[in-house]
């Protein structure tokens, strides 16, 4: 019968009291774990949405108006296509896809339309909505490095392997205006281009565009080596981690913008969740600590006679501390583990409901849960343990 044995036997002797002491800490840890689990899923979900949107960073020549993200490149001045290589050479983390474009308003088949020159595999990889039957190409890469753990079929998109310099893709609205279909021919500045495909309606300015190969566009507009914009598909987390600033360092003489609303939402969501998590952490520390402290205090009062006996038998004050803090630590370990299990179950259920994505147990949160729970329990138990260590050996022995 050693100190640990004594703690174990006492816990088993007063199970009800131990359970009531555990409740607050279990619930507190569960809330934090559930919140963190859902947050992780939420972050992935936002990243997925951003990813599905396609390119989310736009590099434009300095001085370009960016009132509308999607049409900012129309008739913009040009910048060197070599900037693409400069970005690639910078090996910035979070740059998933680069798409140089040259866009001009032109007369096509007698209609004033916007014509955009693209490098097909790069461009289409960043536009999942263009996943057309019949368009060939490899699977695009996924954005998040964690994405492998959250398999989302929407991220498995195709890119066009090739778009001939004598061919074009026509937006849905443009096709209607030009009255062309797949296989038809449109005339661009006297050059006939075969319609490779009519793109599905997207509800964006892309519907009114005609897409041709960048090289063809540069040749037709006599702007060799120039582009009007570079679209970048940046990882959501990388954007919030300052990717824009890093890009501006690489290309200081350009204007770099992003889909502000989405990134801002992401940043705000992350900040809010962080604040809520911290708030709950404090709630757990205070409520859990008070609960365990109260439980240990009640335990000390209930055990004054027993603690007096232990002191009578020669248990030093440190031994009394050990007895009560040991009990608190055991309750903390139990509370942390049960809280993690409860929070994981709650998080999985809520996460699935909220985001539609599968949430798996986050093992790394177990360590944090145990740490928080044990720390809280020890903090809460310290004062009662200190007071218990002051109990005199003959206290409440009821002798003559």
């Amino acid at each position: 019968m050693n100190l640990l044995g004594l703690v174990r036997r006492e816990l088993s002797h007063r199970k009800g009291q131990a359970v009531s002491g555990l409740l607050a800490i279990v619930l507190g840890v569960a809330v934090i774990v559930a919140l963190r689990s859902v947050t992780r899923v939420s972050e992935i979900a936002v990243a997925t949405k951003l990813d599905n949107l396609g390119a989310n960073i736009l590099v434009l020549p300095q001085g370009t108006s960016v009132d509308d993200y999607r049409s900012a490149d129309i008739d913009a001045p040009t910048l060197p296509e070599a900037y693409v290589e400069r970005i690639v050479a910078s090996t910035l983390p979070g740059v998933d896809n680069l798409s140089p474009k040259l866009t001009r308003r032109m007369e096509v088949g007698g209609q004033k339309l916007v014509v955009t020159g693209i490098l097909p595999s790069n461009e289409l990889a960043s536009k999942p909505v263009w996943q057309l039957d019949g368009l060939s190409g490899g699977a695009g890469h996924t954005c998040s490095k964690d994405a492998g753990a959250y398999v989302n079929p929407r991220l498995k998109r195709k890119a066009v392997g090739s778009l001939a310099e004598t061919a074009c893709l026509v937006g849905a609205a443009a096709a209607a205006r030009l009255k062309v279909e797949k296989g038809g021919v449109v005339d661009l500045l006297g050059t006939p281009l075969k319609v490779e495909a009519v793109l599905p309606e997207t509800g964006t300015v892309d519907d009114d565009r005609v897409f041709v190969h960048l090289r063809a566009m540069q040749r037709l507009t006599s702007t060799k080596g120039q582009v009007s914009s570079i679209e970048i598909m940046g990882c959501c987390n990388a954007i919030t981690d300052g990717l824009l600033g890093k890009l501006r360092n690489v290309l200081p003489d350009t204007k770099i913008t992003t889909v502000q609303q989405i990134v801002a939402t992401q940043i705000e969501t992350n900040a809010l969740v962080k604040k809520v998590s911290f708030a709950f952490l404090w709630v757990v520390l205070v409520v859990g600590g008070l609960s365990i402290g109260n439980s240990i205090w009640a335990n000390v009062n209930q055990r004054r006679r027993e603690l007096g006996i232990l002191r009578l038998l020669g248990t030093p004050r440190g031994g009394i501390y050990g007895l009560l803090l040991g009990k608190a630590a055991i309750l903390g370990v139990l509370g942390g583990f049960l809280g993690w299990v409860t929070g994981t179950i709650a998080g999985s259920t809520l996460g699935a409901d909220i985001t539609g994505l599968e949430v798996r147990p986050v093992a790394s949160l177990l360590g944090t849960s145990l740490l928080v729970a044990v720390g809280t329990a020890l903090l809460g138990a310290f004062l009662p343990a200190h007071l218990a260590s002051r109990i005199e050996p003959q206290a409440d022995l009821g002798e003559t």
Binding site: R9, L312, G314
Partner: protein, 247 residues
């Protein structure tokens, strides 16, 4: 443990009390629970302490057990001065050298009989296997082998006090302090306990100091002290400090 301080010691004395007093603070003024007590406790003696309520019996026992410190005078255990010993060393002193038997048995309610005895041995740092064997042997000596795995609430009062006796003698202490050990027992059970105390004292040469109200129990002591109003009213000559010193 702190280095032993020099303390006056009569040859053959286990404990020496010189001018020992204990004063408690009360709202109505200071109360002298014990005053000017000079006593010698010989090694291996069986001493009974009697006196009316409030005469200072339990205070004397607390002082002998290092449970409280005197407000005046000096207390020595062999060569060690107890009144200046730090708290941690007093706890160690109790752990290794003293055994206690109290009126209310003072058993840990959620430990079995054998575990209660083992606890005292564990505190005295006896290794796990030896302490289980020793605890069972002690329970055998107080005729409780069959109840070794019973919780205190499953034992009669006489049996509980026998467990307390086994626990007190388990670590082979130099001194066992008993505070009204028969106070809660009927006469027959009381006689059994006193027989056991006597036997343990005789066989193990462990000194016993027993506080009691009962004249029958007091008669069991080979040496006796009577207290009244916090002072020694009467004491066997062998317990008197000048007489002891003059032997």
């Amino acid at each position: 443990m702190a280095a032993p301080s020099t303390a006056p010691r009569a040859e053959g004395a286990l404990m020496t009390l010189e001018g020992v007093g204990k004063q408690y603070t009360h709202a109505d003024g200071p109360v002298d629970a014990l005053a000017g007590v000079d006593l010698v406790l010989p090694e291996g003696a069986f001493v009974t302490v009697t006196g009316p309520s409030g005469s200072g019996k339990s205070t004397l026992l607390s002082l002998l057990g290092g449970l409280t410190r005197p407000t005046s005078g000096r207390i020595a255990f062999r060569d060690r001065s107890l009144d200046t010993l730090p708290e941690a060393d007093l706890a160690l002193h109790r752990r290794l050298r003293l055994g206690f038997v109290m009126q209310s048995f003072c058993l840990i309610p959620y430990l079995t009989a054998v575990e209660n005895v083992e606890l005292a041995l564990a505190l005295a740092a006896v290794d796990r296997k030896a302490r289980r064997e020793k605890a069972l042997a002690l329970l055998g000596q107080v005729d409780l082998s069959a109840r070794a795995n019973h919780l205190p609430r499953e034992l009669s009062m006489g049996q509980q006090q026998r467990v307390a006796l086994a626990r007190a003698f388990a670590k082979e202490p130099l001194l066992v302090l008993a505070d009204e050990p028969t106070g809660n027992l009927d006469p027959r059970l009381a006689r059994d306990i006193l027989d056991l105390l006597e036997r343990m004292n005789r066989e193990r040469q462990t000194a016993v100091v027993m506080v009691t109200h009962s004249p029958e129990a007091a008669a069991r002591g080979t040496l006796r002290v009577a207290l009244e109003g916090g002072r020694v009213a009467d004491a066997s000559p062998a317990l008197r400090l000048p007489a002891f010193a003059a032997r």
